[in-house]
């Protein structure tokens, strides 16, 4: 269809695209988008800082010095000090590690449970699908933070509880994305062809369904990391996530509430840290969607052709 006259014996070179592998091309496309590239660089920097935080932090996170309380940003304290004289910069970079760790663990948890549920539900269909999806609907009826709050109320607050709470509330999101993609791939002719030749179900799942739903799932992972960081910050802000004196961005903002008029730096810097990290994950997710999500891609291509 692309070229009206290629003879089979002598295939024309013109209808052969240069890239040998679609995925290599996807990476090239990603790197070609300045916004995506920028977000990747920011995330790498955040990750490196988080890993090296114990060595990079100029002060101890709980090194209090009341004589130096509420100092504005200076050469000694780049982001100023809080009401107990603790260095805000040190606390922010140490907290980044905790935030990323919680986001990562909870998203992996949601991924590992949600994606298989979604794939099985979408592939098997019928009563299994109905039951699993009603359960997902039930989970969706609760606002994420409310469900997380309820879980925290059952277990006692802390890092592990925060991870469980965010992981549990994100599981249905992954299940839904995986199911929707599976449903659309399942009816593709290439899957049907494979079925007509007696290919077993597990083979079809592994060889045909799984590789073709990675796009939307990867996009969802990136967006969920962003949302997980936001949720952890909100829980910590409410005093139900990371418990003091351990530093957390949300907790620092909670402390800042009492000093809004005296010390703007206490509320501006931790909030900016959350904002930048979340924005980077969101922009990466957007860039990934443009490249990886087949629906978006065909839409973009169709528009180019029209």
């Amino acid at each position: 269809m692309t070229d009206p006259t290629p003879t089979p014996e002598n295939p024309t070179a013109t209808d052969v695209e240069p890239e040998a592998d679609g995925r290599v091309a996807a990476w090239k496309l990603l790197a070609g988008n300045p916004v995506t590239l920028f977000s990747v660089i920011v995330l790498v920097i955040i990750l490196v800082v988080a890993l090296l935080a114990p060595w990079l932090a100029p002060y101890g996170v709980n090194q209090t010095d009341v004589t130096r309380a509420l100092q504005s940003p200076s050469a000694e304290h780049w982001m100023g000090t809080d009401d107990l004289g603790r260095d805000i910069f040190s606390r922010i970079i140490v907290a980044s590690g905790t935030s990323l760790q919680i986001a990562l663990v909870s998203v992996i948890f949601a991924f590992v449970i949600g994606v298989p549920i979604g794939i099985i539900s979408g592939y098997l269909g019928g009563i299994t699908d109905t039951v699993l999806m009603r359960c997902v609907d039930v989970m969706f009826a609760f606002p994420v933070l409310l469900l997380a709050l309820a879980i925290v109320a059952i277990l006692s607050p802390g890092q592990l509880t925060t991870m469980i709470a965010i992981g549990v509330v994100f599981t249905p999101i992954f299940a839904r994305v995986a199911r929707a993609s599976t449903l659309s791939v399942r009816v593709e002719p290439f899957v049907q062809v494979s079925k007509t030749m007696g290919t077993p179900g597990w083979w079809i799942l592994l060889r045909h369904i799984l590789p073709n739903i990675t796009g939307p799932v990867v996009v969802q992972t990136s967006l969920s990391l962003a949302f997980a960081i936001l949720s952890e910050a909100a829980l910590s802000f409410l005093g139900l996530g990371i418990q003091p004196p351990n530093p957390s961005w949300g907790g620092m903002l909670f402390d800042a509430q009492g000093f809004m008029s005296q010390a703007w730096w206490m509320s501006v810097f931790p909030g900016a840290a959350i904002f930048v990290t979340v924005l980077a994950f969101n922009l990466l997710g957007d860039g990934l969607r443009d490249v990886l999500d087949p629906k978006q891609r065909t839409l973009a291509e169709a528009r180019r052709k029209a």
């Binding site: 269809m1 692309t2 009206p4 290629p6 089979p8 024309t12 209808d15 007509t196 030749m197 007696g198």
Partner: protein
């Protein structure tokens, strides 16, 4: 045609070029249409036929497209308007008013949320300044003119309540609402069944005759063009290769490409190599019954897709199954390959009932029936190399028992005339015809007895289709294959089939030897289907 077009040219296009980026898609096209005349523009996919016409009429909406050349519209006012350099406001005054458009897909061309009345009266209110009431009266006239039954009550209907053919009639009513001097019909019958296509062609000709509208009819189908056009413009890769009066073009094509197109198009009267009439029966289907539950937004209902259909196929024969959309012909294929569970009936394949086996035995049986689907793009997993796609059934069935898998893949590629190094390519590196050859190679991997070809060449351009059909015929004679050839195109079915089954609404209307069905059809429906095929010779207008 030349004398009348000189008298009253409606649209004159000179040296039209469209470029997107550095790529020139339309390369200097010239044409003109006169009052009451019809220009047919024909070409295969990628020839730039739609783009030329949309660019010439100022409706091209492709981002970054640069249009050069001139296109002048002379409507009733007589004054010429240069469409390629007109302002958006000038173009809006022309669109719907002096130029009406009908597009390919009637299922998406109408707004699902508006009544037919609203969609027809819109342009009347815009261009003619009519009130809602007078526009409604005019809309009623138009619905009547395009042959919608019970037009009065249909005014307040919504598109989803109409059939595809009726929707296309409404599109024509919309296009002709303001009595335009010119009608652009862009593949208006491609998405329709052959009997509906014939009705739409008649309708447009009749309306054109009454109103003296100039028509530009775009199609990939020379048969349709032969029926409607006075003059034909043949486009290839954005260039006009031939532009002549229809009858003389079809009788004496001067350009090699036109000759090739004419030779490749399926026409009635071609028959396959004869098959041994005494060959054993390979597949015997009896009383097949299939019903589907269908969920609509408003609830569930059951559709009887196949209703007690029986047939037999002998070894080395081809059974052609023809029918219009919704006739149940593809459902038969899906049942035989195990994709759909039937409600009743049997399908004996060498002494075993295909429909009653499960598990290991079933998988063994699956080997004996293979299927090739319609869409060459979607039939291959885009993330698997061609060789892996062909080799997948071998791996699943632990084949070949002796020799290497890669040798077998090479052998299969050679069988379908593809170079063996294609094994390491990805589907997106192949053309449509090549992809379909890969699908055929994959179907043959398990050495099946019966191959089901479900509209396997319908999505291909005619020249590619002709070659794939030749390949299928060769494979049949070389390997002694038995085909179930499912298609909507009767000419293609005649070319391939020894026996024919005509389906309608899930039922077998008529079945028998191919020559009997084509030469002496017994049923009205079969006769109607045959009569609706555009004849090989163009209609002398």
């Amino acid at each position: 045609m030349s004398d009348s077009s000189a008298a009253q040219t409606v649209l004159r296009v000179e040296d039209l070029r469209v470029a997107i980026g550095r790529k020139e898609i339309v390369r200097g096209v010239n044409f003109q249409v006169g009052r009451g005349g019809t220009l047919g523009i024909v070409g295969e996919s990628g020839s730039g036929k739609s783009m030329s016409v949309l660019a010439a009429t100022g409706l091209l909406d492709a981002p970054g497209a640069v249009v050069t050349g001139t296109s002048t519209l002379h409507d009733d006012d007589g004054a010429g308007l240069a469409l390629t350099s007109a302002t958006p406001k000038q173009l809006r005054r022309v669109h719907g008013n002096s130029i009406g458009f009908v597009f390919q897909d009637p299922s998406t061309s109408l707004n699902p949320l508006l009544t037919l009345e609203r969609q027809i009266s819109e342009s009347l209110e815009t261009h003619r300044g009519m009130t809602r009431r007078t526009a409604r009266a005019r809309a009623l006239e138009l619905l009547e003119a395009v042959g919608i039954p019970d037009p009065e009550s249909r005014l307040d209907s919504y598109p989803h309540q109409l059939s595809g053919g009726q929707r296309q009639r409404v599109m024509i009513a919309i296009a002709l609402a303001c009595d335009p001097a010119m009608l652009i019909a862009d593949e208006p019958t491609t998405a329709l069944d052959v009997t509906t296509q014939a009705q739409i062609i008649d309708l447009v000709k009749e309306l054109q005759h009454d109103r003296g509208t100039a028509v530009v009819w775009i199609s990939h189908d020379l048969g349709v063009i032969g029926q409607v056009a006075d003059e034909v413009l043949v486009l290839k890769s954005g260039e006009a290769v031939e532009h002549r009066e229809t009858v003389s073009l079809m009788d004496h094509p001067s350009h090699a490409y036109t000759t090739q197109l004419l030779a490749a198009r399926p026409v009635l009267g071609r028959v396959p190599q004869p098959a041994d009439p005494a060959a054993e029966v390979v597949l015997a289907v009896e009383d097949l019954d299939v019903a589907f539950p269908v969920s609509t937004p408003a609830g569930k209902k059951t559709i009887h897709a196949v209703d007690s259909v029986s047939f037999e196929v002998r070894r080395g024969h081809t059974l052609g199954i023809v029918g219009e959309s919704g006739s149940g012909k593809s459902t038969i294929a899906n049942v035989l390959t195990g994709l759909v569970e039937p409600q009743g009936g049997t399908a004996q394949l060498g002494g075993t009932d295909l429909l009653r086996v499960r598990g290991k035995q079933g998988r063994g049986l699956r080997r004996r029936v293979a299927m090739v689907f319609q869409d060459p793009f979607a039939s291959l997993n885009s993330r698997m190399r061609v060789g892996d796609s062909i080799g997948e059934p071998l791996t699943v069935h632990r084949l070949p028992a002796s020799g290497s898998r890669s040798d077998r893949i090479r052998e299969l590629l050679e069988l379908v005339d593809l170079p063996t190094h294609f094994a390491s390519r990805y589907p997106h590196e192949l053309s449509g015809g090549q992809r379909q050859r890969v699908s055929i190679a994959r179907a043959l991997a398990l050495e099946p007895e019966v191959v089901i070809l479900d509209e396997s060449t319908a999505a291909l351009d005619v020249s590619i289709q002709a070659r794939v059909l030749d390949l299928l015929a060769r494979l049949q004679s070389e390997l002694g294959l038995t085909y179930l050839f499912i298609a909507h195109d009767l000419a293609v079915v005649q070319q391939m089939s020894h026996d024919v089954l005509v389906m309608r609404n899930g039922q077998a209307v008529e079945q028998g030897a191919a020559e009997q069905i084509f030469d002496d059809p017994q049923q009205d429906y079969t006769r109607m289907l045959l009569a609706a095929i555009p004849p090989e010779r163009p209609a002398a207008v």
